[in-house]
């Protein structure tokens, strides 16, 4: 019984990690290419979730909703890049933090304005509603397995995009020397808009996928955003590979910590305080892990910054 439960928790951790990767990949890409710290990334996640829930409710199709989430988040990303973010590239991080903090206020209140204060609900598509049997006699929800698959597919796709395509070559060039590629005739403004929209679309995808597991509500992006920051700090800012490794590590540590810590503490204290203290400690575990990583490698595990 314990083994089956453990496998289930590991899969949960993977699913959580993969979802964090979708968020962290966009953040780290935007930071790597443009040197911009975007606090409003969580808002794009929220936009994706709301677009998916609204379109799915109107049309009855989760898949149309999913497509809508990509389009809406990419469009929102492109619009804020052109109207606001573009003015911030040459500013210091302080101005970027403040301006994107202001964007969060605008997005959160704007979404509440349009959709009201009540959470929306998004159903898991019929195709993925069942459970898949696991070795050991238990079963695991197909939808969560699908999220893991999507995450792996996106990771491979991003790797190919960046290492094999012309756009990826420009992104890499933009990371190392932006004056040079501008001098070579690449339209750097458009490149930045495209990269920003791509990062936004990934965040929107994550929001839509998670929207079917929990309720879709204003402010849902903020806890995830902070975790995504933890992920890219652990992985090394600007590194997609770091984001993947960091995301899976954070997902596993968080999920397994919540599962194992109370059990471990129950070995030497009474059950109720073990549950309470275990939960409190487990919620801090990834931050402790991040502090450890930074204490040893201040630039993260796979730093892309030289």
């Amino acid at each position: 019984m314990q083994t089956a439960l453990l496998i289930e928790q590991i899969l949960n951790g993977l699913q959580f990690g993969v979802m964090l990767f979708l968020m962290a990949a966009g953040l780290t890409l935007i930071f790597g290419v443009m040197g911009l710290i975007n606090l409003a990334h969580g808002s794009l996640y929220m936009v994706g979730a709301f677009a998916c829930a609204a379109v799915a409710a109107a049309t009855g199709s989760f898949w149309l909703g999913l497509a809508a989430s990509l389009v809406a988040a990419a469009a929102a990303g492109a619009i804020i890049e052109v109207s606001v973010i573009r003015r911030l590239y040459d500013r210091d991080h302080l101005d970027q933090v403040l301006a994107t903090f202001a964007l969060i206020l605008i997005f959160s209140e704007g979404t509440r304005w349009i959709f009201g204060s009540f959470p929306l609900y998004l159903d898991i598509p019929p195709l993925l509603r069942g459970a898949v049997p696991l070795p050991g006699g238990s079963a695991y929800p197909a939808y969560r397995l699908a999220i893991i698959a999507v995450g792996i597919a996106v990771a491979i796709g991003l790797y190919l995009l960046i290492s094999r395509t012309r756009l990826g070559m420009r992104i890499r060039a933009g990371e190392s020397d932006r004056e040079m590629i501008a001098a070579l005739g690449v339209d750097i403004r458009t490149l930045y808009t495209v990269v920003f929209a791509l990062g936004a679309a990934l965040a929107g995808l994550a929001g839509a996928l998670v929207g079917a597991l929990q309720s879709v509500q204003v402010g849902m992006g903020e806890p995830v955003l902070i975790l995504a920051f933890v992920v890219i700090v652990i992985g090394g800012i600007g590194s997609i590979k770091g984001a993947l490794v960091g995301a899976v590590l954070v997902g596993l540590i968080d999920t397994l910590g919540r599962f194992l810590l109370p059990m471990a503490l129950a070995g030497f204290m009474d059950a109720s305080s073990a549950a309470g203290i275990g939960a409190a400690l487990a919620s801090m575990l990834i931050y402790v892990f991040m502090a450890l990583v930074l204490a040893i490698r201040p630039q993260g595990l796979f730093s892309a910054q030289r």
């Binding site: 930071f31 710290i37 606090l39 606001v84 003015r87 991080h93 302080l94 101005d95 933090v97 403040l98 301006a99 903090f101 202001a102 964007l103 969060i104 206020l105 605008i106 959160s108 209140e109 704007g110 509440r112 304005w113 903020e222 902070i226 920051f229 933890v230 890219i232 700090v233 800012i237 309470g276 939960a279 409190a280 919620s283 801090m284 931050y287 402790v288 991040m290 502090a291 930074l294 204490a295 201040p298 630039q299 993260g300």
Partner: protein, 325 residues
């Protein structure tokens, strides 16, 4: 010697802060006294952050941690005093502000030392994010720790006491807070003009040069971080007493963001920047909140406009010259 426009503006702020709440109280409008107290306490917290951000150029996005620690010190001490139950190590709870402040300052400083020791190994964006993450760590601890209210927070049934002052009177409590703000502003001004302040500002501009003259930048920055945490912790204790309530929201990253906003709105590195910022921010909040439920939307637009077009903040605007630090 001519008085600069900035000095005149600062003097005006002091006069307004002393007189307006008195007038409001005399006209039977205690609500405005509470509003002014809120301004003063937020200003105090932001002055703490201004040490680090304004002088040292270190953007801490986790100052809510110290604010919340101060708040919980006040809340926990008062709860134990109210219930007459012993605290950690059998110590009694207390409702004496002086003791609470001391503990809040000490714990705020200790937490800042611990967080600073790790965070200051990093720079730039890493520093912003790691301070944010540490604050979140404490936030989640407060939420999931059931002993002191968890998510629901902790009520302080009777506002804590200060010798010789009736703190239950809003105006008296306001002047206690204002006196602390004044003291901290004096401290800020003295430290800024001291050798330590010079070293801190040099650390922002060029660390190599600072080490070349024989001063370790790390120690200077760590000291600034600790002082900053102490002041913000003190402000947190006052804030809990103002609301007679403390909850994890005092530790949330929104609050860290707000403290940064106050400083930039007022003018980074300027003595009265956080004060002007807090006054304007709380007024915005209040008036926009009265006009529309959607005030956060418009607050966001205004902030965006300030960042994009009005660099140097309010004091910078008044002083009529570019920001100097």
């Amino acid at each position: 010697m001519t008085i600069s426009r900035e000095t005149a503006f600062n003097a005006l702020l002091i006069v307004l802060l002393i007189a307006v709440p008195y007038g409001a109280s005399a006209m039977g409008e205690p609500f405005y006294v509470t509003l002014a107290t809120r301004m003063v306490i937020l200003a105090l917290a932001a002055v703490g952050l201004n040490f680090l951000l304004g002088l040292g150029g270190l953007v801490s996005f986790g100052h809510a941690a110290f604010f919340g620690i101060g708040g919980y010190v006040a809340g926990i001490a008062a709860t134990h005093a109210f219930n007459n139950t012993p605290l950690l190590f059998g110590l009694p709870g207390t409702n004496q502000m002086l003791i609470i402040w001391l503990v809040a300052v000490l714990l705020g400083g200790l937490a800042a030392l611990a967080i600073g020791l790790i965070s200051l190994r990093t720079t730039g964006v890493y520093f912003i994010m790691i301070t944010l993450a540490f604050a979140q760590m404490i936030y989640y601890f407060a939420i999931s720790w059931p002993a002191y209210g968890g998510e629901d927070g902790l009520s302080i049934y009777v506002r804590n006491a200060f010798p010789g002052v009736n703190t239950l009177n809003g105006l008296h409590f306001f002047y206690v807070c204002l006196a602390l703000l004044a003291a901290v502003l004096v401290l800020f001004s003295v430290l800024r003009n001291s050798r330590f302040g010079a070293a801190l500002q040099a650390a922002r501009q060029n660390e190599q040069r600072l080490s070349a003259v024989g001063i370790a930048p790390f120690r200077v920055k760590l000291a600034a971080f600790a002082i900053s945490g102490m002041i913000t912790g003190l402000a947190g204790a006052l804030f809990a007493d103002l609301n007679r309530f403390v909850s994890p929201s005092m530790l949330s990253w929104h609050l860290s963001g707000e403290l940064i906003v106050l400083i930039i709105l007022g003018g980074t590195g300027r003595l009265f920047g956080p004060v002007a910022g807090a006054i304007v921010y709380v007024l915005f909040e209040f008036y926009l909140g009265g006009v529309t439920e959607r005030w956060q939307f418009f607050l966001g637009l205004i902030l965006l406009a300030v960042v994009l077009f009005a660099r140097g903040g309010i004091v910078g605007l008044v002083a009529g010259k570019a920001r100097h630090g």
